[in-house]
Symmetry: C2
Subunit: 144 residues, 2 copies
DNA sequence: GTCGCTGCAAATTATTTGCAGCGTA
DNA sequence: TACGCTGCAAATAATTTGCAGCGAC
Protein backbone atom coordinates (compact mmCIF):
# COMPACT_ATOMS: atom_id res chain seq x y z
CA UNK A 1 0.00 0.00 0.00
CA UNK A 2 1.23 3.45 -0.86
CA UNK A 3 2.23 5.77 1.94
CA UNK A 4 -0.55 8.29 1.44
CA UNK A 5 -3.16 5.57 1.29
CA UNK A 6 -2.01 4.13 4.58
CA UNK A 7 -2.61 7.57 6.01
CA UNK A 8 -6.06 7.68 4.52
CA UNK A 9 -6.79 4.44 6.33
CA UNK A 10 -5.65 6.05 9.54
CA UNK A 11 -7.96 8.93 8.68
CA UNK A 12 -10.99 6.64 8.49
CA UNK A 13 -10.00 5.29 11.86
CA UNK A 14 -9.72 8.81 13.28
CA UNK A 15 -13.18 9.68 11.96
CA UNK A 16 -14.60 6.62 13.67
CA UNK A 17 -12.96 7.61 16.93
CA UNK A 18 -14.28 11.17 16.75
CA UNK A 19 -17.71 10.11 15.57
CA UNK A 20 -17.65 12.16 12.40
CA UNK A 21 -18.42 10.96 8.90
CA UNK A 22 -15.64 10.27 6.46
CA UNK A 23 -17.43 11.76 3.47
CA UNK A 24 -15.82 11.73 0.02
CA UNK A 25 -15.14 15.45 0.29
CA UNK A 26 -13.37 15.05 3.60
CA UNK A 27 -11.29 12.16 2.37
CA UNK A 28 -10.14 14.15 -0.63
CA UNK A 29 -9.32 17.22 1.42
CA UNK A 30 -7.33 15.10 3.82
CA UNK A 31 -5.55 13.27 1.02
CA UNK A 32 -4.64 16.53 -0.66
CA UNK A 33 -3.19 17.88 2.54
CA UNK A 34 -1.10 14.76 3.11
CA UNK A 35 0.10 14.66 -0.46
CA UNK A 36 1.90 17.96 -0.33
CA UNK A 37 4.48 19.64 1.85
CA UNK A 38 3.39 23.05 0.75
CA UNK A 39 1.16 23.96 3.68
CA UNK A 40 -1.56 25.19 1.36
CA UNK A 41 -4.34 27.61 2.21
CA UNK A 42 -8.03 26.83 1.92
CA UNK A 43 -8.39 28.29 -1.57
CA UNK A 44 -5.49 26.22 -2.91
CA UNK A 45 -6.84 23.02 -1.44
CA UNK A 46 -10.21 23.83 -2.93
CA UNK A 47 -8.75 24.36 -6.39
CA UNK A 48 -6.80 21.12 -6.33
CA UNK A 49 -9.47 18.91 -4.89
CA UNK A 50 -11.93 20.24 -7.40
CA UNK A 51 -9.84 18.86 -10.23
CA UNK A 52 -10.57 15.37 -9.02
CA UNK A 53 -13.94 16.07 -7.49
CA UNK A 54 -15.80 18.74 -9.41
CA UNK A 55 -18.68 19.00 -6.97
CA UNK A 56 -17.24 20.53 -3.87
CA UNK A 57 -17.65 24.03 -2.53
CA UNK A 58 -15.17 26.37 -0.96
CA UNK A 59 -17.06 26.58 2.29
CA UNK A 60 -17.02 22.84 2.66
CA UNK A 61 -13.27 23.13 2.49
CA UNK A 62 -13.27 25.82 5.16
CA UNK A 63 -15.66 23.88 7.34
CA UNK A 64 -13.70 20.68 6.95
CA UNK A 65 -10.39 22.29 7.76
CA UNK A 66 -11.85 23.84 10.86
CA UNK A 67 -13.27 20.49 11.90
CA UNK A 68 -9.99 18.66 11.30
CA UNK A 69 -8.11 21.23 13.26
CA UNK A 70 -10.53 20.97 16.15
CA UNK A 71 -10.13 17.19 16.18
CA UNK A 72 -6.37 17.61 15.93
CA UNK A 73 -6.18 15.65 12.72
CA UNK A 74 -4.33 18.53 11.07
CA UNK A 75 -2.78 21.72 12.34
CA UNK A 76 -2.44 25.30 11.33
CA UNK A 77 0.84 26.98 10.55
CA UNK A 78 1.84 29.81 12.82
CA UNK A 79 -0.55 31.50 15.18
CA UNK A 80 -4.27 31.03 15.14
CA UNK A 81 -5.06 33.63 12.50
CA UNK A 82 -7.69 35.60 14.18
CA UNK A 83 -6.24 38.97 13.59
CA UNK A 84 -2.71 40.28 13.46
CA UNK A 85 -1.05 40.99 16.77
CA UNK A 86 1.98 43.17 17.23
CA UNK A 87 4.95 43.22 19.52
CA UNK A 88 7.05 46.28 20.22
CA UNK A 89 9.70 44.33 22.06
CA UNK A 90 12.54 43.57 19.69
CA UNK A 91 14.79 41.90 22.26
CA UNK A 92 15.11 38.15 21.68
CA UNK A 93 12.24 36.38 23.36
CA UNK A 94 9.67 33.69 22.76
CA UNK A 95 5.92 33.29 23.00
CA UNK A 96 3.32 31.30 24.81
CA UNK A 97 0.06 31.23 22.85
CA UNK A 98 -3.27 30.11 24.27
CA UNK A 99 -5.18 27.91 21.85
CA UNK A 100 -8.49 28.90 23.37
CA UNK A 101 -8.46 32.67 23.73
CA UNK A 102 -5.42 33.63 21.68
CA UNK A 103 -3.63 35.22 24.63
CA UNK A 104 0.06 35.78 23.91
CA UNK A 105 2.63 35.95 26.72
CA UNK A 106 6.36 36.63 26.56
CA UNK A 107 8.78 33.91 27.49
CA UNK A 108 12.42 34.60 28.22
CA UNK A 109 14.81 31.70 27.95
CA UNK A 110 18.47 32.44 27.41
CA UNK A 111 19.18 28.92 26.23
CA UNK A 112 16.75 29.36 23.35
CA UNK A 113 18.23 32.57 22.07
CA UNK A 114 20.90 30.85 20.08
CA UNK A 115 19.39 27.63 18.84
CA UNK A 116 21.36 26.54 15.79
CA UNK A 117 19.23 25.43 12.85
CA UNK A 118 20.29 22.11 11.33
CA UNK A 119 22.45 22.44 8.24
CA UNK A 120 19.77 21.14 5.87
CA UNK A 121 17.88 24.36 6.40
CA UNK A 122 20.35 26.13 4.13
CA UNK A 123 18.62 24.24 1.36
CA UNK A 124 15.47 26.24 2.09
CA UNK A 125 16.94 29.69 2.48
CA UNK A 126 18.77 31.99 4.84
CA UNK A 127 17.57 32.15 8.44
CA UNK A 128 17.36 35.58 10.07
CA UNK A 129 15.81 34.68 13.39
CA UNK A 130 14.78 31.72 15.49
CA UNK A 131 11.71 31.89 17.61
CA UNK A 132 10.07 29.29 19.85
CA UNK A 133 6.32 29.12 20.10
CA UNK A 134 4.69 27.35 23.00
CA UNK A 135 1.09 26.41 22.42
CA UNK A 136 -1.20 25.47 25.22
CA UNK A 137 -4.03 26.75 27.36
CA UNK A 138 -3.61 29.81 29.55
CA UNK A 139 -4.43 29.96 33.25
CA UNK A 140 -7.63 31.87 32.72
CA UNK A 141 -9.00 29.47 30.13
CA UNK A 142 -8.03 26.41 32.15
CA UNK A 143 -10.08 27.53 35.08
CA UNK A 144 -13.20 27.86 32.99
CA UNK B 1 13.93 59.38 32.50
CA UNK B 2 11.28 56.73 32.55
CA UNK B 3 11.94 53.49 30.70
CA UNK B 4 9.26 53.93 28.08
CA UNK B 5 10.40 57.45 27.36
CA UNK B 6 13.95 56.29 26.80
CA UNK B 7 12.50 53.96 24.20
CA UNK B 8 10.62 56.78 22.58
CA UNK B 9 13.92 58.61 22.24
CA UNK B 10 15.33 55.55 20.52
CA UNK B 11 12.28 55.63 18.30
CA UNK B 12 13.01 59.18 17.15
CA UNK B 13 16.50 58.05 16.37
CA UNK B 14 15.19 55.08 14.36
CA UNK B 15 12.93 57.37 12.37
CA UNK B 16 15.86 59.57 11.51
CA UNK B 17 17.84 56.56 10.36
CA UNK B 18 15.03 55.28 8.18
CA UNK B 19 14.15 58.71 6.85
CA UNK B 20 10.54 58.62 8.00
CA UNK B 21 8.73 61.28 9.98
CA UNK B 22 8.10 60.82 13.66
CA UNK B 23 4.60 62.26 13.59
CA UNK B 24 2.56 62.57 16.79
CA UNK B 25 0.37 59.65 15.69
CA UNK B 26 3.35 57.43 15.13
CA UNK B 27 4.91 58.33 18.43
CA UNK B 28 1.70 57.50 20.27
CA UNK B 29 1.25 54.20 18.46
CA UNK B 30 4.81 53.26 19.26
CA UNK B 31 4.49 54.33 22.87
CA UNK B 32 1.31 52.33 23.27
CA UNK B 33 2.96 49.24 21.88
CA UNK B 34 5.93 49.58 24.23
CA UNK B 35 3.76 50.23 27.21
CA UNK B 36 2.02 46.89 27.14
CA UNK B 37 2.98 43.25 27.04
CA UNK B 38 -0.35 42.26 25.61
CA UNK B 39 0.61 42.03 21.95
CA UNK B 40 -2.45 44.00 20.94
CA UNK B 41 -4.11 44.01 17.54
CA UNK B 42 -4.62 47.11 15.40
CA UNK B 43 -8.12 47.80 16.67
CA UNK B 44 -7.02 47.69 20.30
CA UNK B 45 -4.12 50.03 19.70
CA UNK B 46 -6.47 52.36 17.88
CA UNK B 47 -8.94 52.42 20.76
CA UNK B 48 -6.26 53.12 23.34
CA UNK B 49 -4.34 55.73 21.43
CA UNK B 50 -7.55 57.53 20.68
CA UNK B 51 -8.14 58.12 24.36
CA UNK B 52 -5.08 60.34 24.46
CA UNK B 53 -5.22 61.54 20.89
CA UNK B 54 -8.80 61.87 19.71
CA UNK B 55 -7.93 62.67 16.15
CA UNK B 56 -6.46 59.51 14.72
CA UNK B 57 -7.97 57.07 12.31
CA UNK B 58 -7.91 53.31 12.26
CA UNK B 59 -6.21 53.17 8.91
CA UNK B 60 -3.39 55.34 10.13
CA UNK B 61 -2.87 52.71 12.78
CA UNK B 62 -2.82 49.97 10.17
CA UNK B 63 -0.52 51.93 7.93
CA UNK B 64 1.81 52.78 10.75
CA UNK B 65 2.03 49.21 12.00
CA UNK B 66 2.84 48.02 8.52
CA UNK B 67 5.51 50.66 8.19
CA UNK B 68 7.05 49.86 11.57
CA UNK B 69 7.12 46.20 10.75
CA UNK B 70 8.79 46.85 7.44
CA UNK B 71 11.44 48.95 9.14
CA UNK B 72 11.83 46.27 11.79
CA UNK B 73 10.93 48.65 14.57
CA UNK B 74 8.27 46.24 15.77
CA UNK B 75 7.35 42.68 14.87
CA UNK B 76 4.27 40.59 14.35
CA UNK B 77 3.33 37.65 16.48
CA UNK B 78 3.27 34.31 14.72
CA UNK B 79 3.32 33.94 10.98
CA UNK B 80 2.68 36.76 8.61
CA UNK B 81 -1.10 36.61 8.66
CA UNK B 82 -1.91 36.63 5.06
CA UNK B 83 -4.25 33.74 5.06
CA UNK B 84 -4.42 30.56 7.08
CA UNK B 85 -2.18 27.72 6.00
CA UNK B 86 -2.63 24.12 7.00
CA UNK B 87 -0.39 21.21 7.70
CA UNK B 88 -1.46 17.59 7.55
CA UNK B 89 1.74 16.33 9.10
CA UNK B 90 1.21 15.78 12.81
CA UNK B 91 4.64 14.33 13.51
CA UNK B 92 6.80 16.70 15.55
CA UNK B 93 8.55 19.11 13.23
CA UNK B 94 9.38 22.77 12.83
CA UNK B 95 8.96 25.46 10.22
CA UNK B 96 11.02 27.76 8.08
CA UNK B 97 8.97 30.76 6.97
CA UNK B 98 9.98 33.16 4.22
CA UNK B 99 9.33 36.77 5.17
CA UNK B 100 9.01 37.79 1.56
CA UNK B 101 6.73 35.27 -0.10
CA UNK B 102 5.30 33.40 2.86
CA UNK B 103 6.72 30.06 1.77
CA UNK B 104 6.65 27.48 4.58
CA UNK B 105 9.08 24.56 4.66
CA UNK B 106 9.33 21.68 7.10
CA UNK B 107 12.36 21.38 9.33
CA UNK B 108 13.21 18.22 11.20
CA UNK B 109 15.50 18.53 14.16
CA UNK B 110 15.44 15.81 16.77
CA UNK B 111 17.13 18.00 19.34
CA UNK B 112 14.27 20.49 19.17
CA UNK B 113 11.53 17.98 19.71
CA UNK B 114 11.86 18.05 23.44
CA UNK B 115 12.84 21.56 24.36
CA UNK B 116 11.85 22.11 27.99
CA UNK B 117 10.08 25.38 28.67
CA UNK B 118 11.48 27.35 31.60
CA UNK B 119 9.58 26.89 34.84
CA UNK B 120 8.15 30.42 34.85
CA UNK B 121 5.95 29.46 31.97
CA UNK B 122 3.70 27.57 34.37
CA UNK B 123 2.66 31.02 35.52
CA UNK B 124 1.10 31.59 32.10
CA UNK B 125 -0.62 28.26 31.56
CA UNK B 126 -0.09 24.68 30.53
CA UNK B 127 2.06 23.99 27.49
CA UNK B 128 0.86 21.34 25.05
CA UNK B 129 3.46 21.65 22.35
CA UNK B 130 6.70 23.38 21.53
CA UNK B 131 7.39 24.52 18.04
CA UNK B 132 10.36 26.38 16.56
CA UNK B 133 9.83 28.93 13.84
CA UNK B 134 12.71 30.01 11.66
CA UNK B 135 12.15 33.26 9.82
CA UNK B 136 14.24 34.30 6.91
CA UNK B 137 14.25 34.57 3.15
CA UNK B 138 13.83 31.52 0.97
CA UNK B 139 16.17 30.55 -1.85
CA UNK B 140 13.80 31.71 -4.54
CA UNK B 141 13.29 35.15 -3.03
CA UNK B 142 16.99 35.63 -2.37
CA UNK B 143 17.87 35.17 -5.99
CA UNK B 144 15.49 37.87 -7.10
C1' DG C 1 6.22 74.48 -3.38
C1' DT C 2 6.93 69.80 -2.79
C1' DC C 3 6.10 65.68 -0.73
C1' DG C 4 5.06 62.77 3.13
C1' DC C 5 1.29 61.78 6.16
C1' DT C 6 -3.45 61.85 7.44
C1' DG C 7 -8.65 61.10 7.58
C1' DC C 8 -12.54 59.58 5.27
C1' DA C 9 -15.12 56.49 2.62
C1' DA C 10 -15.20 52.84 -0.42
C1' DA C 11 -13.11 48.50 -1.97
C1' DT C 12 -11.09 44.11 -1.34
C1' DT C 13 -10.11 39.68 0.69
C1' DA C 14 -10.59 35.91 3.79
C1' DT C 15 -13.72 33.49 6.38
C1' DT C 16 -18.32 32.41 8.50
C1' DT C 17 -23.28 31.71 8.66
C1' DG C 18 -28.37 30.75 7.51
C1' DC C 19 -31.03 27.85 5.06
C1' DA C 20 -32.99 24.19 2.35
C1' DG C 21 -32.05 19.76 0.26
C1' DC C 22 -29.90 15.25 0.15
C1' DG C 23 -28.06 10.85 1.60
C1' DT C 24 -26.83 7.56 4.92
C1' DA C 25 -27.42 5.23 9.44
C1' DT D 1 -37.25 9.13 10.09
C1' DA D 2 -33.55 11.74 11.94
C1' DC D 3 -29.48 14.07 11.58
C1' DG D 4 -25.03 15.10 9.79
C1' DC D 5 -23.09 17.15 5.77
C1' DT D 6 -23.32 19.79 1.65
C1' DG D 7 -23.89 23.76 -1.78
C1' DC D 8 -25.39 28.25 -2.50
C1' DA D 9 -25.77 32.94 -1.48
C1' DA D 10 -25.49 36.41 1.69
C1' DA D 11 -23.18 38.29 5.80
C1' DT D 12 -19.26 39.53 8.54
C1' DA D 13 -14.65 40.97 9.83
C1' DA D 14 -10.06 42.38 8.96
C1' DT D 15 -7.22 44.95 6.19
C1' DT D 16 -6.11 47.88 2.10
C1' DT D 17 -6.63 51.60 -1.23
C1' DG D 18 -7.92 56.07 -3.77
C1' DC D 19 -8.29 60.63 -3.06
C1' DA D 20 -8.10 65.35 -1.46
C1' DG D 21 -6.33 68.33 2.09
C1' DC D 22 -2.92 69.81 5.36
C1' DG D 23 1.47 70.74 7.39
C1' DA D 24 6.51 70.24 7.82
C1' DC D 25 10.90 70.82 5.45
Amino acid sequence: MEETEKRVQAFFEACRVHGIRATPQRVEIYRELRNTEEHPDAETIYRRVRERMPVISLDTVYRTLRLFEEKEVISRVGALNERARFDGNMKPHHHFICKVCGYVGDVYCGAWNDLKPPKEVERLGRVHSVHVELRGVCKKCRSR
